[in-house]
Amino acid sequence: MVSLFVSPSEAERDSLRQMVGYDSNSEVRDRMIVATAGEATENLAAIVATGVNELIVNLPMIKSVEPIHEAADVLKAATA
């Protein structure tokens, strides 16, 4: 399982990185993708390429259903 935060906004991505200690904690970096949709697709596709059967993501800090749509688009592309 990996935490997935997708945003086109660099400011939003930086804010989340700071909140979770992304840059200072390797365990956080190992478990979390904070990226644009394109970058996230590449990262997840690399995981799929290792042979995993199912990718499970959680979506931290969501406050609406829209990030679920965005995550699904990324996951569809990464697993295609």
Binding site: M1, M19, V20, V48, V52, N53, E54, L55, I56, V57, N58, L59, P60, M61, I62, K63, S64, V65, I68, H69, A71, A72, D73, L75, K76, A78, T79, A80
Partner: protein
């Protein structure tokens, strides 16, 4: 082709609406997940929210109640916890919850179980939080009990702790044998 699943770690935006619309929001999430191709939905099994997600003051739904709601709101996705702490429930009770969820969903329940870790939560709810070696021993016993109850019409077990004794009918049975 790999499939993909969705874990819901944060219920505060679902629960804290005014006026309350918890089931409406949960229905929206379930419909979007199924329509978007997710193959599974997962909830945490915690009674206190984790610190990075708001901590103990934040709203969080009890996991198996939330899964019961998702059972009614979905038709296709598999449902489970990531993961249930072994210290939270008598394992035979847990097996019954999973078998009930499985029956309600036509075979879509998955048991996710681990050794538990959230010491603050255990203190708040008055649960034992033994050392990690004992928790893994309990996990081994719990998996044995759940597997035994899932695979047999009746099942008897007496663990090393003595208090973990189970001798019971297992109905309803799982629709099909499933991984844990």
């Amino acid at each position: 082709m790999a499939t993909y699943g969705l874990q819901l770690p944060d219920f505060s935006w679902i629960v804290d609406a005014d006026p309350p619309t918890t089931m409406d929001r949960l229905r929206s999430v379930a419909e979007i997940a199924e329509d978007s191709g997710f193959s599974s939905m997962w909830v945490m099994d915690h009674l206190l929210q984790l610190p990075p997600l708001g901590g103990p003051a934040a709203s969080i739904l009890e996991g198996y109640v939330a899964l019961g709601a998702l059972a009614a709101l979905t038709r296709r996705v598999e449902l489970g916890t990531l993961v249930t702490g072994v210290t939270y429930r008598n394992p035979a009770h847990l097996a019954k919850q999973i078998a009930s969820l499985d029956a309600m969903t036509g075979g879509r329940a998955i048991l996710g179980i681990g050794a538990a870790w959230y010491d603050v939560e255990h203190a708040a709810y008055g649960w034992d939080f033994p050392p990690v070696k004992e928790r893994f021993g309990r996990l081994r016993e719990a998996v044995t009990i759940c597997r035994g109850m899932f695979d047999n019409e009746t099942f008897t077990f007496e663990g090393t702790s003595g208090s973990w004794r189970s001798s019971t009918s297992t109905a309803p049975r799982l629709v099909e044998r499933r991984p844990m």
